[in-house]
Amino acid sequence: MSEMFANLALGFGVALTLKNIALCFTGCLVGTLIGVLPGVGPIATIAMLLPITFGLDPVGALIMLAGIYYGAQYGGSTTAILVNIPGEATSVVTTLDGHQMAKQGRAGVALGTAALASFFAGTVATMVIAALGAPLTKLALLFGPAEYFSLMVMGLCFAVVLARGSILKAFCMIMLGLLLSTVGTDLETGQERMTFGFPPLSDGIDFAVLAMGVFGFAEVLRNLENPETRDVVRTKIGRLLPNWDDIKQSIAPVLRGTSVGAILGILPGNGAVLGPFASYTIEKKIAKDPSRFGKGAIEGVAGPEAANNAGAQTAFIPLLTLGIPPNAVMALMVGAMTIHGIIPGPQVMTKNPDLFWGMIASMWIGNLMLLVINLPLVGVWVKLLQVPYRLMFPAILIFCSIGIYSVNNQPVDVAFTALFGLFGYLLIKLGFEPAPMLLGFVLGKLMEEKLRQALIISRGSFLTFIERPISAGLLLVAVAILVIALLPSMSKKREEVFTE
């Protein structure tokens, strides 16, 4: 314990110079401002802002990057709440209740809750990294392909709970997401799958393209159709910050979200993506009135946002202790570190202690900056909703177009997004909710990869999933979730049939 405080003191000594605080502040501010643009998700934001850190010394650059990272994450949540566009997989859940809150005139409360929940989760996660970073690495190593596959199966079971309305339709969406995830070049054989022989599809469908299409563009189309609903958003601004009641309602979800997110974030292979979904599932299951979810329940913002930020932060553990980036954003961070001559790995901690602990301290400072910058900005973001919609959606479109273009510098991606916009509009018309599809899509790629790996390693024996204790445990949880999720609707069905 005392060692941890000594380390943290060293870290804060590095991070708390005037220059580094200024860098952290600038990074956080710029990250938020770029990340808040609809269509520019965290990955695009960080990739765009990476070059501005090139001229700095390594410690300063990493501190600024940490600021950019948190700013971009929060900026992404802001777009999810205000205009229903998730910039990355982890903010899909935030759109569900966050955007509903905005529609009810509670955008400020949603944004404030997200910022406070993120700050709390970030603080806890920083402590977790400082205290347990090294031992927790072992957890990551316990997860082989079989465990991952079972974890993904469990994640898909979470998706069922996301459903508003028909569970059958939610199943359809999950399977459709899985199906879409198999488009592209096969990893193992290099064969093209379902690409129509069209080269831009050979890497599969980009998450940003799919999400901007089925959420962003389709949402614009839906709003154009119902002028009444979107005008409600404009007239009602409501309170800007959460009041005591909101906070009381959020405390427990934030605590639960933080623990779930922090644990899942440590897993390499993008475990962090499951955090918000798991948190949402838990909150919806233990809520007294689950029907409030999807209609603007504050727990549905507080829990997942805490999980999101906790996971975003503990995702640094595999990177800092093993040198293994668990997801695309972390891979970018590796690149940034490498450019500054630091190759992340097991030895960073001992070889560059000031850098290691300085970065951990700056994570906390980054979270603090997030709060300092964003609470005053909540008013500005909410005011943006008052821009007449006839100007707002062309602005969304130009930002989305540029944002999507700049992810891979591929103009075809913009046209693809339009195609998925049409697809999303069709889904809305057919009464489907796209959120489970996105989860299916994100997990599908990993799931297929891990299934094939596990079966090659086990030489084709399915028993591997049951013989390995962690994998078996996860599968049990998955079955339990499914049973709990399906039983009420089954029994309700029977009841209703009998009362007829």
Binding site: F54, E188, L322, Q453, I457
Partner: protein
């Protein structure tokens, strides 16, 4: 606005054909990197291009065009107007292995492009989980050959450097059908190597050096002519008894065929100057990169390298089992 005015002026100057020839470069040059920002090729491109920009007096803008194992970006660069304002940083995969891996390739790296020069080579290591039975490379070779059904090898997907180099190794050892496990990226593969789920893989020194130093995995050999200063204890394949396995994941600059000689010369000179710069050298060496020889920095030398590795890889890759 000032910049806008400047570029307007530059555009007008470009309209005067006689002057345009002698004053290359007059506007920013785009360097296409066919992989996502932050990867090994991107990092080398950014380090080298920063210094080249200073020499040329014009900014080299790095544009990441990822897709299809890097072939999308290279195809775009090589089909651009050959005016010297679009160049590309490609690697072993996109220039030497791609013709054998991607049947419908839209460019010809051997005859259809203007090479500029090699920017740096990254040695390949054969690494294994730390408690893998064989103690050295010789034992490893015998073990793999006699236990083809027991051994698991990992790679980062068809077309990746780890796949290409490991396929070459398996081809040379005569065990092309070894159990091979595909991962999305070397990061997750490395994770499973550290935890002992898989037995061995081939990867670039920059990705594995820290793990080897920390003892979480072990390295049998480095597939280059000399030992690396980053890992002085790891023997070369020649020392360890597998001299024919020589392969490097190099990165180099190329451009569309038919560009003005003046532009080629200036780019070659700028690249050479960058590679002689102390800061650039140090940053590249920190990455475990081997600096190119004087010969490899010339268009002809780089072209020869591409051809040599293509000849080495094509038969193995074409014969690789595609299940």
């Amino acid at each position: 606005m000032k910049k806008l005015a400047l570029s307007l002026a530059a555009a007008l100057a470009l309209a005067l054909p006689a002057q345009a020839q002698s004053k290359y470069p007059e506007r920013p040059i785009t360097m296409i990197v066919p992989f996502a920002a932050g990867g090994p090729t991107d990092i080398i491109a950014r380090i080298v291009s920063e210094n080249m920009s200073k020499t040329l007096g014009q900014q080299i803008v790095v544009e990441n065009v990822a897709g299809a194992g890097g072939t999308t970006g290279i195809a775009r660069a090589l089909t651009a107007t050959p005016d010297g304002y679009t160049i590309a940083m490609g690697h072993l995969g996109t220039f030497s292995a791609a013709p054998a891996t991607y049947p419908g390739l839209k460019y010809d790296p051997i005859n259809g492009m203007q090479t500029i020069g090699l920017a740096g080579g990254t040695p390949i290591l054969i690494v294994a989980k730390k408690n893998f039975e064989p103690k050295d490379l010789k034992e490893f070779v015998t073990y793999v050959k006699t236990n083809t059904d027991k051994v698991n090898e990992a790679h980062a997907g068809v077309g990746s450097v780890s796949w290409t180099t490991c396929t070459l190794l398996k081809g040379q050892l005569g065990v092309p059908k070894l159990n091979s496990v595909a991962y999305r990226g070397t990061g997750p593969a490395l994770n499973d190597l550290v935890s002992g789920q898989i037995d061995f893989m081939c990867d670039q020194i920059v990705s594995v050096a820290e793990q080897v130093k920390a003892g979480t995995i072990k390295a049998y050999a480095i597939a280059s002519v000399q030992r690396s200063p980053a890992l002085p204890d790891v023997p070369t394949t020649k020392e360890a008894g597998l001299p024919e396995y020589q392969i490097e994941a190099w990165n180099g600059i190329a451009a569309p065929k038919g560009m003005p000689k003046e532009a080629v010369d200036k780019l070659v000179a700028a690249l050479d100057k960058a590679l002689n710069d102390e800061t650039v050298k140090k940053r590249l060496l920190d990455l475990g990169t081997v600096l190119p020889t004087a010969e490899e920095r010339t268009p002809a030398g780089f072209a020869a390298l591409i051809k040599r590795d293509a000849d080495k890889l094509s038969p193995v890759l074409a014969a690789a089992p595609k299940q």
